[in-house]
């Protein structure tokens, strides 16, 4: 029986100066390197495959399988790129991880690069997190000085260079091919696939792109074994993950638990919803995952169950909103975000978000009529699955799911002639007991 919370990645965050090499090594850090170097790269890949680790960046693609796609007969250099562009609204797990324990990521990078036979790796970190970047830069510098990076690491004969690369403000660069464009000094617009990055990614060379949390999980899998990892979680969603609670909950924060924990359990751990209020709607994995409601409180938070409930596990970014929140306002704001972040490459996303925002803004002001809801749904239908990448799909999620669950609230804006909610009531600094 696994414990309810399983701190692994977060386990050293409370250590003194946890970000330093000294602190990390004191707790056994970088031991996974020697264990990995004693294995063949293919065995490392097998171990990660056997662990059942699935991508922690939202899509949940099996990590070991992704590594296995790298054509080792391709003469070009191989690259590992860590996607540290954490920007999905509600998602806030990688940033604290890199701030508190950058060496966990660096160690993961070394093992992962060894597995795919890359001699150069990159951490593409969003630019808007200055202190995190400082800590990464320092950690990489320390790792070089300690011989964890550079030539002949730990006497293994394996060489690796690791470059910390700061982005410059573009949500779309969380999409892996847009990230590669950014890393190549271009506009962050997604690339046509195929070719997939595994075949022709960075500099048209075989490239693995993994989320921070995925890579950071690798050392623990090497250290403790695939079985240990696979023993946690649910049947097809193995292991643990960081669940990020935010919003109207008593103790928002990071909760590392086996996949399959429910929101009810998590809210309970977090001290319940804020006093005097109840859950109204929530996102399971960021704003691009369709909204869920209190009726979904007992859905196991794993890839399959959340999918079955009509949403996606995504990044486990649990944004909780209580009854003081206007869902129309929330959805409009997200839609404005997608419009702002649409890269402009494809028509449905670029033009669709422009139009959606206008339609929603009118509704939020109580203008328009019920037909606008059908128009919104039709616009969403013309964007979903028609866009070049998933950003367009994501833009439709809050709209269609909110109309599904809260159609009456949209209509209330029309009958009320505007938003019936008091925006002050939903704030963190509202007096206790305030209501809409």
């Amino acid at each position: 029986m696994t414990d309810t919370l399983t701190p692994v990645l977060t386990d050293n965050w409370d250590a003194d100066r946890a970000w330093t090499l000294a602190s990390y090594e004191e707790r056994g850090g970088y031991a996974a390197l020697d264990k990995a170097f004693a294995m063949t790269p293919d065995d490392v890949i097998s171990t990660v495959k056997d662990s059942g680790l699935r991508g922690r960046g939202g899509a949940g693609f099996p990590t070991g399988m992704k590594w296995g796609f790298i054509p080792q007969d391709n003469p070009r250099p191989k690259y590992l790129v860590v996607n540290a562009d954490e920007s999905e609204p509600g998602t806030c797990k990688d940033i604290p991880l890199m701030m508190a324990s950058p060496h966990t990521l660096v160690e993961g990078v070394i093992v992962s690069s060894y597995a795919i036979r890359a001699n150069t790796a990159f951490i593409y970190v969003r630019g808007e997190v200055l202190h995190v970047i400082r800590r990464l830069q320092r950690a990489v510098q320390e790792a070089y000085l300690a011989g964890h990076l550079g030539k002949n690491i730990h006497g293994s004969g394996y060489d690796l260079d690791l470059i910390v690369h700061a982005g410059a403000g573009a949500y779309i660069c969380g999409e892996e091919t847009a990230l590669l464009e950014g890393l190549e000094g271009r506009r962050g617009q997604p690339r046509l696939r195929p070719p997939f990055p595994a075949v022709a990614g960075l500099y048209a060379s075989p490239t693995v792109i993994n989320n921070v949390e995925s890579i950071a999980s690798v050392p623990s899998i090497i250290t403790n074994g695939a079985g240990w990892f696979a023993g946690m979680g649910t049947e097809k969603s193995n292991g643990f993950g960081i669940f990020s609670l935010s919003g109207h909950v008593t103790r928002p924060g990071q909760y590392e638990a086996p996949l399959g924990i429910t929101l009810r359990e998590l809210i309970d751990l977090a001290g319940g919803m804020r006093e005097g209020h109840e859950l109204k709607f929530w996102t399971p994995g960021g704003s691009s995952t369709p909204l869920l409601t209190p009726e979904h409180l007992d859905v196991p938070l794993d890839f399959e169950s959340v999918g079955a409930a009509g949403s996606m596990l995504g990044t486990r970014a649990l944004q909780l909103f209580d009854e003081t929140t206007c869902v129309v306002r929330a959805v409009l704001r997200w839609t404005e975000f997608y419009k702002h972040e649409s890269c402009g490459k494809c028509t449905p996303c670029r033009e669709g978000t422009w139009w959606l925002t206008q339609t929603l803004a009118r509704l939020e002001k109580g203008q328009g009529d019920e037909a606008d809801l059908d128009l919104l749904l039709d616009q969403c239908d013309n964007i979903l699955g028609r866009s070049f990448c998933a950003l367009g799909d994501g833009a439709t999620s809050p709209i269609s799911s909110s109309i599904q669950h809260f159609r009456d609230e949209y209509l209330a804006h029309l009958t009320h002639g505007g938003c019936p909610f008091d925006p002050a009531a939903s704030t963190a600094f509202a007096p206790v007991g305030a209501s809409a």
């Binding site: 506009r187 046509l192 972040e341 494809c346 028509t347 449905p348 033009e351 699955g385 028609r386």
Partner: protein
């Protein structure tokens, strides 16, 4: 004369589109496979000559079976999806899903479009307009619900020629992709993001590309327009006639759009074997030279020192008598003649004037070159455009394709971009064009080419039997260089082709407008060749002595050995020694000028006979790869006669006064028939004879540091066929002088970053001086490069002969 590439067996794939089974080559994209069954899937970003991008999403189709038994859950972009065996595709014609997806995308495209078709130049030929009609909905839900469109200030000039109207743009990125992928000029790029994304130049760097007009042509909306054509006409008022570009030897297919006897615009034609769908801006925008005020419209004869109008009959008679009375006469033509006209001059010289003193090379030339043209160029057709793409190495000798053969440049760049073709250039410096072809420079100072070409045999250059050697006309400027090129080809087995600058040059070789060649590549020195031609022409014998070349004709006129001269379209400033050419005109006893517009020749000629521009006559250009490119007259203009008709008129009069005989033709068709029946020479090619080296030029007293002069003409310059094109000219590259760093420092002192200031240098030769800004280039020391026709009357008239010694001095700002 061209070879058809061998057809290799292509693997095919069979799929079903809208219920119709079709087999197409493997890797075909669904959007093009659909065309095979007659289904036009709407599209904007897709272009067959650009890399697939899948951006506009207009071409979505439903794929119920991807060929593996499973379908795609969502509609797929057919412009990026390759066919697969057994695939089932349902387009808008049969699938509601596809139809709705396309309608949805179209609706999105239109929400921010100004819908200003009535005032838009593209209206009537606009893919957006057409596809909105065929694949869009009738009303705008956006407008009816009070949607607010994105607006931009009205058009902005992204170059002197190209205007951008951002509101109309659908962001398909065809223009930016063309500029980057095809032209290699990424001076327009997408900027901003999301709905504010737009095509943009950098504020201090206009979109100056030799190929910018193609971006306008492939724009699927009215976002890009040319200053030249903007608001000039409506497409449905235009009549289109196919044509062939007359500005270089590439033979690019063009479409001439005209209205009421006036050319309104020219577009690229689609010829996959030649120019694909691209032409240079010169081919596109330079056509008003035939519509300028100084166009000659009636014959004139000189009387009491003044030209006066004359009837054709009178002018022919005056010309005939004048030429008879002047004694021995010669013929000089420019490089712009059609093959038919060149043939008429060749025949006229031999039959009516009884001479082989004829030369089409209105530029620096040599006896070695005449021999090379006879031995290696006439009747050759070993190399095609397609061959360039297959060659592992293409060697450029005395040829700067981007400036001198723009269509060829694009093909070479395409080959290089594919990564299978290495371009190697023997030139004074690595030009921008060479850089864009990822080319390798083998530096050669003017005069050093022979040695450098000899070194290309070394294995490191990869010149093997599969290589192609392209020889420019400028190689003739160094004695022995053409022979070295021929030797390189012979030694390695590489194929060789000659790429002249002008459209008529190759045709003139084939037509015998040379002192050593008769029509059909017949060596004049071969008695049987003379007999063949004499028999065909119905004359007892042809003059047997090899004639004078252009230089010798000029010298003989000055000396008085020649008295009469027929000049067909020569600009004195193009000739090897413009001053000498003018002196020859003055010295000549009698000058007949066949010209389009007033020139320094018409101003001194005794008889001036107007000739038709290419729009007014049918004709043929022979391309550098030996391809015959025939075209018909665009306008029926009975008073505008081709050169061949004018010559036959003079010949008739000469025959009437007892010399020669009539030419026997009056129309282009008759000349074509005659050329056809004469056919090509089937005897042995003459051997290449380099001849004696010219006397070394006297060293001049120098008032500065001595440099060797390198030069060529830039694509857009002061050439007279670009007259009247102010917007095109405004996009010309700035004239500069190029020096090596060491040369720069020897002349101007230490090279330092000096923000805002630019050094000038005065180059002085035996014909004059020019002062230009200096640019440092990676080139041999002791060499200065200047553009040949980008200032004043050009290098030949006002500076010095190419390859000669000039002096350099720093100049004050």
């Amino acid at each position: 004369m061209t070879t058809t590439p061998e057809r290799t067996e292509v693997e095919t794939v069979t799929l079903t589109i809208d219920g119709v089974q079709v087999s197409v080559p493997k890797d075909t994209l669904v959007i093009r496979a659909a065309e095979q069954v007659g289904v036009q899937i709407p599209r904007f970003c897709d272009h067959p000559l650009l890399d697939p991008v899948g951006a506009c999403r207009q071409c979505l189709v439903d794929i119920p079976d991807a060929g593996n038994g499973r379908g795609f859950p969502k509609p797929q972009a057919s412009c990026t999806l390759p066919v697969a065996e057994g695939m089932v595709v349902n387009t808008q014609a049969t699938s509601e899903v596809a139809d709705k997806a396309q309608q949805g995308v179209m609706e999105f495209l239109l929400i921010n479009h100004p819908l200003d078709c009535p005032v838009c130049d593209k209206g009537g030929e606009c893919p957006l307009q057409n596809q909105a009609m065929s694949n869009g909905r009738g009303e705008s839900r956006f407008a009816e619900r009070g949607g607010i469109k994105r607006t931009f200030p009205k058009p902005i000039n992204i170059s002197a020629q190209v205007l951008l109207d951002r509101e109309r743009c659908v962001l398909c990125a065809r223009c930016t992709r063309f500029s980057e992928q095809v032209a290699g000029d990424p001076f327009i790029a997408l900027a901003e993001r999301g709905a504010l994304q737009q095509v943009a130049i950098y504020e201090r760097e206009p979109y100056e590309s030799y190929f910018s007009g193609n971006a306008i042509q492939i724009c699927p909306v009215g976002a890009l327009t040319s200053a030249d054509y903007r608001f000039r006409s409506r497409p449905f008022d235009l009549v289109s006639t196919p044509g062939v570009a007359e500005h270089d030897a590439c033979g690019a297919a063009i479409r001439i759009d005209h209205r009421r006897g006036k050319v309104m615009r020219r577009l690229a034609g689609n010829d996959p074997e030649v120019n694909e769908e691209w032409i240079s801006d010169k081919d596109r925008f330079a056509f008003r030279y035939a519509q300028t005020a100084d166009r000659i419209t009636y014959p004139q004869v000189r009387e009491d020192g003044e030209l006066r109008p004359a009837s054709w009959t009178e002018a022919f008679a005056v010309a005939a008598r004048g030429l008879r009375d002047a004694g021995a006469a010669a013929v000089l033509t420019g490089g712009r003649l059609t093959a038919e006209d060149a043939y008429a001059y060749a025949k006229f010289a031999r039959v009516s004037l009884g001479t082989n003193d004829i030369d089409f090379r209105a530029r620096p030339h040599s006896a070695e070159e005449a021999s090379f043209l006879a031995s290696h160029v006439a009747l050759s057709g070993d190399v095609t455009y397609a061959d360039l793409e297959a060659a592992p190495v293409v060697v450029l000798l005395g040829l700067e394709p981007e400036d001198e053969a723009a269509t060829l440049f694009l093909r070479l760049r395409k080959a290089a971009r594919r990564g299978r073709t290495q371009v190697v250039s023997v030139a004074p410096y690595a030009s921008r064009g060479l850089t864009k072809m990822n080319g390798r420079l083998v530096p050669a100072a003017p005069g050093a080419e022979v040695e450098v070409i000899g070194s290309l045999k070394d294995a490191e250059h990869g010149v093997s039997k599969d290589a192609v050697i392209l020889v420019g006309e400028r190689l003739a400027q160094t004695h022995g260089a053409l022979s070295a090129a021929a030797e390189l080809a012979a030694g390695t087995g590489a194929r060789i082709a000659w790429v002249p600058r002008r459209a008529g040059d190759r045709g003139a070789v084939e037509a015998g407008a040379l002192p050593n060649l008769l029509p059909g590549g017949r060596p004049l020195t071969e008695a049987s060749a003379r007999v063949d031609v004499g028999a065909a022409w119905g004359v007892e014998s042809l003059p047997a002595k090899v004639g004078r070349d252009g230089n010798a004709i000029v010298a003989a006129l000055v000396k008085g050995d020649l008295g009469g001269l027929v000049v067909g379209g020569v600009d004195p400033d193009d000739t090897a020694d413009p001053a000498a050419f003018r002196a020859a005109l003055d010295a000549a006893g009698f000058v007949v000028s066949l010209e389009l517009r007033e020139t320094d020749v018409t101003r001194v000629a005794d008889v001036v006979l107007p000739v038709a521009p290419v729009t007014d006559k049918a004709g043929t250009f022979v391309t550098w790869d030996g391809r015959t490119r025939s075209f018909d007259a665009v306008f029926a203009n009975p008073s505008s006669l081709p050169d061949l008709r004018v010559l036959s008129g003079i010949a008739d009069e000469i025959a009437a006064i007892g010399h020669g005989r009539p030419l026997g033709f009056r129309t282009v068709a008759e000349v074509r028939d005659e050329m056809q029946s004469l056919g090509p020479w089937d005897g042995a090619r003459p051997a290449l004879d380099a001849g004696k080296p010219p006397k070394p030029a006297k060293a001049r007293k120098s008032g500065g540091t001595a440099f060797a002069l390198a030069t060529w003409k830039q694509l857009v310059d002061l050439g007279s066929m670009q007259d009247g094109e102010e917007h095109l000219r405004a996009t010309a590259r700035r004239p500069v002088a190029r020096l090596s760093r060491a040369s720069y420092e020897s002349v101007l002192g230490m090279l330092e970053a000096q923000p805002g200031s630019e050094q000038l240098v005065t180059v002085t030769g035996d014909r004059g001086s020019v002062t230009l800004p200096v640019v440092v280039a990676d080139m041999p020391d002791g060499v200065v490069w200047v553009p040949a026709r980008s200032f004043g009357r050009g290098v030949l008239a006002e500076l010095a002969s190419p390859g000669s010694t000039v002096t350099l001095k720093g100049a004050a700002q």
